[in-house]
């Protein structure tokens, strides 16, 4: 287990370094935006990764509701946290890109706004877990996870259709259409790297959660066998 982990960590490091090189050196400089455009190579893959994490959370929540498995719950909390981490990166790099290019820190365009709402939903998920009376409540969390995921779909649609007032600066100029192949390569390279990083982080968080679950159980067993007053964390 440990060795698999170390191997993954090394691979991740390698991929990230390669991605960094691609983004900063190998990819050509963009015509209109200049060097700043390179933020794109971190901003966009982070967004895609965050989405995948939240999708994983949805699946894990369903899995938990189906079988009440402790493993499912561990995956759920891990993916939610890592998703929020990547989402935070998106929300921080977005303005840093927008400011020098369009002169505004924030634009209520479809993508940034959707990301913000997504961030709010899953931070809410984490807070629900944290502030439940009597310790994190996996059932409530799973129900919320399912709700949140469905909601995310509606969020994307709603923002797309009902937010027509705001100017829609095209972030990234439609990354999938007519983009320079070198740039696309750099984008994908970084995405693969971030995916590896995400898997690494999720694995870590999952393990931590499983250990915590085991300790909790051990505590509970102990209290059964030797009744004692134990202060709950």
């Amino acid at each position: 287990m440990k060795s698999g982990f170390i191997i993954l960590a090394l691979i991740t490091l390698l991929l990230l370094s390669y991605g960094l090189y691609q983004a900063l050196v190998a990819a050509p400089t963009e015509a209109t935006m200049g060097e700043v455009q390179r933020i794109f190579y971190y901003h966009v893959p982070s967004a895609w990764t965050a989405l995948l994490c939240f999708l994983a959370n949805f699946v894990a929540s369903l899995w938990f509701l189906a079988g009440r498995s402790g493993r499912a719950d561990a995956v759920a909390v891990a993916t939610a946290e890592v998703g929020v981490v990547f989402c935070t990166v998106v929300l921080l790099t977005g303005p840093l890109w927008a400011r020098p290019v369009w002169g505004i820190w924030w634009a209520w365009d479809a993508r940034l706004t959707s990301t913000l709402v997504l961030w709010l939903i899953y931070v809410g998920y984490l807070m629900l877990r944290k502030f439940s009376v009597g310790g994190p409540n996996p059932m409530l969390a799973a129900a919320f996870g399912v709700f949140g995921a469905f909601n995310a779909v509606f969020v994307f649609m709603a923002i797309r259709w009902f937010r027509t007032q705001q100017p829609q600066p095209v972030f990234g100029g439609g990354p999938k259409s007519g983009i320079d192949p070198q740039m696309r390569y750099a984008l994908m390279a970084n995405w693969v790297a971030f995916l590896a990083l995400a898997i690494l982080l999720i694995w870590l968080r999952y393990t931590l959660q499983r250990v915590r679950q085991a300790v909790e159980e051990a505590h509970a067993m102990k209290s059964l066998v030797e009744p004692e007053v134990r202060t709950r964390r």
């Binding site: 700043v36 840093l96 020098p100 300790v215």
Partner: protein, 39 residues
């Protein structure tokens, strides 16, 4: 461009902070486990 470095830097910062949080979590859980076996 300052913004470029800031963006990359912040990305790393966020991930590193998260790793630190996780490390602390592991330490805490290890302490708890030890406390259990000690008793």
């Amino acid at each position: 461009m300052k913004f470029l470095y800031a963006a990359y830097g912040i990305t790393w910062l966020v991930h590193i902070v998260y790793l630190i949080i996780l490390t602390r979590g592991f330490q805490q859980v290890r302490d708890e486990a030890e406390e259990l076996t000690r008793k």
